[in-house]
Symmetry: C2
Amino acid sequence: MTPLYFEDLAPGQVHRSGELAVTAEAIKRFAAEYDPQPFHLDEARAAASFFGGLAASGWHTAALTMRLLVESGLPLAGGIIGAGMDELRWPRPLRPGDTIRLESEVLELRPSRSRPMQGLAKVRTTTLNQDGAPVQVLVANLVVMRREPGGA
Amino acid sequence: MTPLYFEDLAPGQVHRSGELAVTAEAIKRFAAEYDPQPFHLDEARAAASFFGGLAASGWHTAALTMRLLVESGLPLAGGIIGAGMDELRWPRPLRPGDTIRLESEVLELRPSRSRPMQGLAKVRTTTLNQDGAPVQVLVANLVVMRREPGGA
């Protein structure tokens, strides 16, 4: 992938990622280490829970989204560096057997006031399942390197 | 820990967690699977990067925060179920050798309009390092079970 600099981005651009399949084993393994709650760990207890069946931890969905962003979703020259999030929500659970992919839309761009080689990009990354339904919406403010120095 | 129901929460309450130590090995292992960027994977390349040294992925900080919330930080009766986040930022990196702990302040409570056995709690969870400096600030809207049915 050609690395993208601040100058290559424009509001309205949409960048798409490759796909990633999610297994029950992966959901349980993440949960055992980072979010050990019954609805992420055990099918029977999950069926009786709020989620009505095994569901990935939202933080697992976020972590897998990051992997897709890094590997194929948004090839920023300096890497994917989040300065902060404006929004993070999980409209529906990520389930075993789902295959996810990303659509990242550039919403806003602004040069850095203090760092001439950097800019900030506000990007909405939607994580979609195989039915095209969103399992996560993330609006992130990313630090993006410039090709040439710029000013505010 | 005594499980907390919606009726047990009040704005201004602060709940504290136990501690968790973070190693370079753990930082690299998370990054290899979920955020494979040089500044999370390799000391030398991290030293030359934006971060000036090995730093945990922000999503690793979030995942470890979740583990502390589940294990000791906020013993909600139905578990920790996030309906969405109003804020998520990482004021400084989480570094190898850091020990983290949480302070979770209840900001707002509101009964569910449609589900008499549930309420919503807005909680600000600050993840502090061993110097008491924040490495993450998360404001989450949590689904909380009621002991007795209530109405909006």
